[in-house]
Symmetry: C2
Subunit: 228 residues, 2 copies
DNA sequence: GAGTGGTCTAGACCACGAG
DNA sequence: TCGTGGTCTAGACCACTCA
């Protein structure tokens, strides 16, 4: 199951990875040039580059064409639960941009509204320090929008979170300032009130290496016995 | 934002991709050998291989050492909800390998048992046709193991699912026959009975492009008002 | 053993970033 | 202009699969 013949690329990647994780190569440090590294490890430059590609895909280094390869800053992990990201820290901040638009396409079925229904979109970008870590688009039927931000309104009776993992799109990658080869947690959240009206739909994109999502389900002894 | 100078690898990948998605290259078909493809596209074999690596990362082809490159079957998306994967289809099958071991490390805190507690591990690999799509490791304290498979036992009172997105490890990638550059949905599930005893812990790894996870949360009007 | 993919080399040339 | 990373070549050799 484990690799019986470790390839050069993995050996080199392992070495650099431990140097990064142990702090020998600190955050923000520029690595030696690829030709220097290739000479140091006594391999050809293509081989060395495949090793760096592994670290790049893991999000450990950042490649900047014409400048060099840099060690990325370490991540502090956030938890998405009950619709909010925790822990809230002073270093975390959120920018919100509000847009008026009309429902069309997938939004109409998500919100269960007719096409061209007036909506308000809240585009939220969460930052930790200078680094963006999350991208949230919230859609609310305009007649439900109050002056408050959407997360301060009435509590929904039901919330459905559909979660998947995928690679970041080029758009998301540029917004979140990562490579497209990064795993993100994509959550589609639909909140419904007590009479079944959809009061909010949201698309959340969280960097996989910076966030978890936590869901707790309770079963009473009566219900759910019919399953299976 | 778009690539202004399309590289050879992308041009070739685009060509093969359209051939696959339009059905010119049907599911399960073996591609010509890499040297034949390289000759056809008039590029070197390493260049052709980087093009195939793109398709491999997208999950369009499956590489089998010594045999060839095969067009993967189109994805049918599974949904993880209430602890099971749906829909159940005849083409889906699961292999289970049972191992006896003793708790240590992270497992002791997950299961809330002392170190070296006897456990049973169920290693389940889900297949659709010939292609693996999920990898599940279930850990149960041995005194709770019955003759039945673990998913047929008593229904837990509480289930906590911790979900994140990450790239597949090399081990998972080889088991699931994908590249490590693939986004997977990693779920850690802890099931507790009515008296708070952990009756099962599970690590699930689902291919991001083949699975969603669905969670529904209900709020009564009384509770949860204190929040915010 | 024949044919396949996997890894690696030692160069070449191009594109980008900064001084 | 110079040093950087990005792409590509034309081979070589090894590991795996299957007959």
């Amino acid at each position: 199951m484990t690799d019986p013949v470790p390839s050069l690329r993995h050996t080199i990647a392992d070495d650099l990875r431990t140097q990064i994780t142990t702090g020998h190569l600190g955050a923000g440090v520029r690595l030696p040039s690829e030709s220097q590294l290739a000479a140091h490890y006594k391999v050809s430059t293509p081989t060395l580059r495949t090793a760096l590609a592994l670290l790049h895909a893991e999000g450990l280094i950042e490649k900047i064409h014409g400048k060099g390869n840099y060690v990325r800053r370490p991540f502090s992990r956030l938890t998405y639960a009950s619709g909010i990201l925790t822990p809230a820290r002073p270093s975390l901040r959120v920018t919100v941009r509000t847009t008026q638009l009309r429902a069309r396409g997938a939004l109409t079925s998500l919100l269960k509204v007719p096409s061209r229904t007036p909506l308000t979109e809240f585009l939220c970008i969460g930052y930790e320090g200078e680094s963006p870590h999350s991208l949230v688009r919230i859609y609310v039927p305009r007649d439900l929008v109050t002056a408050e931000p959407p997360w301060c309104r009435q509590r929904p009776a039901q919330v459905r979170d559909k979660v998947t993992a995928r690679l970041a799109t080029t758009e998301e990658a540029s917004t979140l300032r990562v490579t497209p080869a990064r795993a993100v947690l994509a959550i589609t959240r639909v909140s419904t009130d007590t009479v079944g009206r959809v009061i909010e739909a949201a698309h959340l994109v969280l960097l996989g290496d910076r966030a978890d999502a936590l869901f707790t389900t309770y079963h009473t002894t009566e219900e759910g016995v019919a399953e299976e």
